[in-house]
């Protein structure tokens, strides 16, 4: 019995890091950053490029961070001279596709920071995926490049 238990634990120990990697490497994240705002800003925007390197469609269904009250996905749409922000229930990325979160388009809306963030700080984001995996990524806080 003990032998079986040890064997099972060994198997899990061997498999688990592999699973975590598998989840992590289904999506790759590039050029991620959070835009620094005034000290009293109640919302900040986060941007990045997400590429789906797996063979199936993956959605990011939720995001949260210890540094913010909540995080939403939004898309800015320009139409008829108006800028509208449309909340997105999730961010869906097809196999091989890249979704770019950038100014005037898709972005993370980081709501009610618990304390002001400055350039040089980092934001750890926890992302829940449609695959059931949960991954965390770090985004640097900075000003936009000129």
């Amino acid at each position: 019995m003990n032998t079986i238990r040890i064997a099972l634990i060994s198997l899990l120990v061997a498999i688990l890091p592999g699973l975590a990697h598998a989840a992590e490497f289904e999506l790759t994240f590039n050029k991620g950053w959070v835009q620094e705002g005034p000290p009293n800003a109640r919302v900040l925007a986060g941007f990045m490029q997400i590429t789906n390197i797996s063979k199936k469609t993956i959605s990011i269904t939720a995001a949260d961070s210890d540094l913010f009250e909540s995080i939403e996905f939004h898309r800015t749409v320009h139409a008829d001279g108006m800028a509208r922000m449309l909340e997105q229930p999730e961010l869906t990325i097809k196999p091989g596709a890249t979704l770019t979160l950038e100014h005037g388009s898709y972005h993370l809306m980081l709501i009610n920071p618990h304390s002001p963030l400055k350039s040089g700080d980092s934001v750890e984001l926890n992302l829940s995926l449609s695959t059931g995996a949960c991954i965390s990524i770090m985004l640097p806080v900075r000003q936009p490049q000129e």
Partner: protein, 222 residues
């Protein structure tokens, strides 16, 4: 040498040269004494309104709590954007563009002195003067924030051709509502009249270039 028959029927070539010269001189004199309509400047992103449109902000306050009405627009060219401090994407992006425009214009101190950058809040419920003071000065110490009673903001925005609409959050008690708003940047002239509309997307270099062209055009005219 045979005579040229033309010389007999018509005045000499010299006569035509004098005539052409006289016409040229007359043309130059005419042009300098009459105010002919000048070519409007070529613009990248701006629309020049001719004639400009009168506006009259009333009952508004700036980020220092001082009155903000027509006299505060007079004497300057003002870049004006209608936004709000809870706006994550468009407003910070536009204020960063203002900051870059200010940096470009500071190379010409005379021009910069006549220029103002103003954020008018379309969310006066959450944007007090105090909130705006901290917000706009983060981008630039010279920037101005304007707020006031909702109905005064509405009147001024309508005069400026700006529309906005508050969209309630799913949770009605939540303070996290969104305000959709016009993305254009407006400019008033030193008489406080709406003179220029800059359409989105905004780019600091185009804003500065168009403004400088418009400034030269309008200053030459006056």
């Amino acid at each position: 040498m045979p005579d040229n028959p033309a010389n007999e029927k018509y005045p000499s070539n010299q006569f035509y040269w004098w005539l052409a010269l006289a016409a040229l001189v007359a043309g130059i004199l005419f042009a300098s004494f009459t105010k002919s309509p000048r070519q409007a400047p070529t613009l990248e992103a701006a629309t020049l309104l001719t004639p400009p449109k009168a506006v009259a902000p009333q009952g508004l306050v700036d980020h220092l709590g001082q009155p903000f009405e027509l006299p505060q627009l007079e004497g300057h060219y003002s870049f004006i954007f209608f936004g709000y401090t809870h706006c994550p994407d468009i407003c910070p992006a536009t204020l960063y563009q203002f900051k870059r425009v200010a940096k470009i214009l500071q190379a010409n101190p005379d021009l910069y002195k006549r220029t103002r950058f103003i954020l008018v809040s379309i969310d006066p419920q959450r944007d007090s003067s105090k909130q705006l003071a901290e917000y706009v000065s983060y981008y630039h110490p010279d920037f101005i924030g304007v707020t006031g009673p909702e109905k005064n903001i509405k009147t001024f925005s309508r005069q400026m051709g700006v529309i906005y609409e508050r969209r309630e959050a799913e949770n009605k008690d939540s303070d996290n509502y969104i305000v959709d708003h016009s993305s254009a940047i407006l400019m008033t002239n030193p008489k406080g009249q709406l003179q220029v509309v800059f359409s989105a997307p905004h780019n600091a270099e185009s804003l500065a270039k168009d403004y400088q062209a418009i400034y030269r055009f309008l200053e030459d005219e006056s």
